[in-house]
């Protein structure tokens, strides 16, 4: 087990990827603290890095709990995207490179380059498409890494179709009750680590953008023309679902309803459900557990690369969980090192 209280070892891992998202399991899980740590380390190793964010996340105080929201510290040479409003409020010296004509609630998005390090609030794009194009743009500008900062419960940016790698932030804000904290973190960790389909299968399925499909024994996909999962198990659809075999691919969101329905089928041991990636998975832990317990198989088209898990021991209500003990329990349960986000900066 690595030393959980020393500097996080994953900076070199990060630089092997072109884009990184930092997502919190809940608000106040220490995402920004983690981000600041990563930025500082990137500066120390002299990496060319850019940062953008999704959603308007940039109020100085958290609107839910009115706790102070730390600004992000950026260093010389880093490029960033934020709104007009936050650009003008920045506490760093930077030059403007570009102004986007699209407007957000905080004005146009602007791209800047830091000349003198300092603090700034980030606010950003509203869609995954916009994020993808920003990441591409930074790549063209010669940036080695683009970091995407996420807003409250915005998992979509961690989709491997948007960013190459991710850091997951969990903490006392998720639950002060240790077993509950562990089970919620573990569930997401499991989903992130769902195994991938093979390359041939990925190639066959990745272009499909709509509907529920079955994959036959020759690996050919067939559209099942299921208008809604709510119709499953009613009338004509019942027998049809497995007419091409028991491997199914859902191109969009996977619901509790669907997984529950599959878990109740007699063929459950033969069923393989393929999901695009873990961000498309909207199933309760109980139903997922039931599906797996009864013998179902779950795969993703593309797996997310999880680089690290961080833990924030302080809850927004002010209560602090015992750091060392909780990190150790979490690490043990997840089989992955978990770092105390408040200590990595020391």
């Amino acid at each position: 087990m690595p030393e959980l209280f020393g500097p996080m070892p994953f900076i070199n891992d990060i630089l092997r990827h072109r884009s990184l998202s930092i997502v919190g399991l809940e608000k106040n899980t220490g995402k920004t603290v983690c981000l600041n740590y990563v930025l500082r380390r990137l500066n120390e190793v002299g990496a060319r890095a850019a940062i953008t964010s999704i959603g308007v996340d940039g109020e100085q105080t958290d609107s839910v709990y009115a706790t102070a929201k730390p600004e992000v510290t950026l260093y010389e040479g880093m490029q960033f995207i934020t709104s007009e409003k936050h650009y003008l409020q920045r506490r760093l010296v930077s030059q403007l490179l570009e102004v986007d004509s699209q407007r957000t609630s905080l004005g146009q998005l602007v791209t800047g380059e830091v000349l003198c390090r300092g603090k700034i609030l980030l606010s950003g794009a509203a869609s995954s498409e916009k994020l993808r194009s920003q990441i591409d743009h930074f790549k063209e500008q010669g940036m080695e890494l683009t970091i995407v900062d996420g807003a409250l419960s915005r998992l979509s940016l961690a989709s491997p179709t948007v960013t190459d790698a991710m850091i997951l932030a969990t903490g006392a804000a998720v639950s002060l009750h240790l077993p509950q904290l562990i089970s919620r973190t573990k569930f997401l960790h499991q989903l992130i680590n769902l195994p991938e389909v093979d390359a041939t299968m990925r190639q066959r399925l990745s272009h499909i953008t709509q509907g529920i499909w079955a994959v036959d024994s020759d690996g050919q996909p067939h559209d099942l023309h299921i208008a809604s999962v709510f119709l499953l198990g009613r009338g004509d659809n019942q027998d049809d679902l497995f007419r091409y075999g028991t491997t199914l691919f859902v191109s969009g969101a996977v619901s509790t309803q669907l997984v529950k329905y599959l878990a109740s089928q007699k063929q459950i041991k033969d069923i393989t459900l393929i999901v695009r990636d873990f961000t498309k998975f909207f199933v309760t832990p109980e139903v997922y557990a039931e599906y797996i317990r009864r013998g179902g198989t779950m795969l993703v088209l593309q797996q997310s690369k999880l680089l690290a898990i961080t833990f924030n021991p302080t809850s927004p209500t002010g209560y602090t969980m015992p750091s060392r003990e909780t990190c150790e329990k979490l690490s043990e349960a997840l089989g992955t090192p978990v770092y105390d986000v408040m200590k990595i900066n020391d």
Partner: protein, 467 residues
């Protein structure tokens, strides 16, 4: 003044033409929507001359790289009218607004340079006031280090105090030093805005010129791809040879269907258009309207050859616009529109296009209304075109009939899908006061209930023997 955006509400078919224009910038969009209805021949001719030049430019393969650069500048153009009016009104700009001003100067400079390289700088300075030199001065003010880049910040060279303060900041992230640095930046901004103030007018003109160029290139591109023609504005003849409806033509081409353009000549007074159902009378009316709209908003027209009279306005009454929101029936909205047109023809030169007036009321009064309306329109100097299914109107006016079904159909079974291939949409002068009676035949082709058709034929026989 009539603006293009006001027309779009009344003429949805014209919307298609407008939507097809590939505008790169919001400024070009604004320029299009606020395009005025032009009634002076010279003004339209001047615009046509520039479209011709733009078409020549687009057709010149050697100029393509320069045109692409110009387009790329237009794509980056922001609408900064608000910023420029702040500058005019001595309101302090912020860094982002200063960046926008610099960007405008930069984009204008690059576009002007590339147009000049192909000998067409005049397409940008449409108002006869080239601004390259002036905007170069603006750019220089905002680029004190001569980077030539459209990036911006309050450069160290603006004030000797900035460099040491920033050096100190690099060593130590100190809030006090940062505040001092910000205060100096603010002083620089005040000085910069004072220096930029005299250029506010020129910057506004430059923005307008860029918007104009955007629209001009879009019009020329459309003229090329749709094969539009430059009409002669003789003032007398109103003639369109091989007139086509852009939307329908494109649709038919996509579906692999034939599209038949139509020749039409219109004169002062009234012209009645008759023809079977499905003979394209309504489309013809709409297309004549589109052509006039295009011409007088400074665009080429959808025909192979055209000679047009300029009018004060087009009145288009298609009759399918039942306005439930106003509580008006289709009859009521139609009658209001027609009476408005009649009133206006007494002192304006209009192009009046009315589709089957009074068709939604009883045929006895309906016919009387058409007779009265027709008699009044026939006396006016406006050009009026009215489609109708009423026979024996007894009006002293021109009549054009759509030829309709071709004679030698060689016993091919007609279907709703192929019916269009057996229609001759061309127009012939008609001297009789009769309209074609082909409604039942067409209903049968369309697969209408046979019992109903047989019954209708019985009734028709009955009418004839009794009539």
């Amino acid at each position: 003044m009539i603006l293009l955006k006001n027309i779009l509400k009344d003429d949805p078919a014209f919307q298609y033409v407008v939507d097809d224009l590939e505008l790169m910038s919001p400024v070009g969009q604004q320029r299009l929507l606020n395009a005025p209805w032009i009634t002076e021949r010279a003004a339209i001719e001047a615009e046509y001359d520039r479209i011709d030049r733009a078409i020549a430019l687009l057709s010149n393969a050697d100029a393509a790289p320069s045109v692409n650069v110009v387009r790329h500048q237009l794509m980056q153009l922001h609408d900064i009218k608000g910023t420029l009016s702040s500058l005019k009104g001595h309101i302090l700009l912020n860094e982002i607004e200063l960046f926008e001003v610099k960007l405008l100067a930069h984009l204008y400079g690059v576009a002007a340079k590339h147009l000049a390289s192909v000998g067409e700088e005049g397409l940008l300075a449409f108002d006869g006031h080239p601004l390259q030199a002036t905007l170069q001065e603006v750019f220089a003010l905002l680029d004190p280090d001569n980077t030539g880049m459209a990036h911006f910040y309050i450069y160290d060279s603006y004030d000797p105090r900035l460099a040491p303060l920033r050096k100190a900041l690099k060593e130590n992230e100190d809030a006090d030093i940062f505040s001092q640095q910000e205060a100096v930046q603010q002083e620089v901004i005040v000085r910069l805005c004072d220096k930029l103030h005299p250029y506010a007018e020129a910057l506004s003109s430059a923005l307008e010129q860029m918007g104009y160029l955007d629209l001009l290139l879009a019009k020329a591109t459309q003229a090329r791809s749709w094969q539009l023609c430059r009409p002669v504005l003789s003032g007398e003849r109103h003639y369109l040879r091989a007139l086509f409806n852009p939307r329908l033509k494109q649709h038919n081409e996509q579906e692999g269907l034939r599209y038949q353009p139509v020749d039409i000549e219109l004169k002062e007074g009234l012209c009645l258009i008759t023809g079977a159902n499905m003979a394209g009378k309504t489309v013809l009316l709409k297309t004549v309207g589109i052509a006039q709209h295009m011409a007088q908003f400074g665009m080429f027209v959808p025909a192979q050859e055209a000679s047009l009279r300029l009018v004060d306005d087009v009145v288009l009454c298609i009759g399918d616009e039942q306005n439930e929101m106003n509580g008006l029936s289709s009859f009521a909205s139609e009658i209001i529109k027609i009476s408005d047109a009649l009133r206006r023809t007494r002192h304006e030169q209009l192009l009046v296009l009315i589709d089957e007036p009074a068709r939604t009321t009883n045929p006895i009064e309906g016919k009387a209304i058409v007779q009265a309306m027709g008699a009044l329109l026939a006396q006016q100097h406006s050009i009026s075109m009215v489609t109708t299914h009423y026979s024996q109107l007894g009006l002293d006016c021109r009549r054009l009939r759509v030829k309709g079904f071709v004679e030698d159909m060689n016993d091919v079974a007609l279907t709703p899908q192929n019916i269009n291939s057996f229609m001759d949409y061309s127009l012939v002068e008609d001297t009789t006061d009769e309209v074609p009676h082909e409604a039942l035949r067409i209903a049968a082709i369309l697969g209408c209930d046979q019992e109903m058709i047989a019954l209708a034929q019985e009734h028709l026989k009955h009418h004839k023997t009794n009539g």
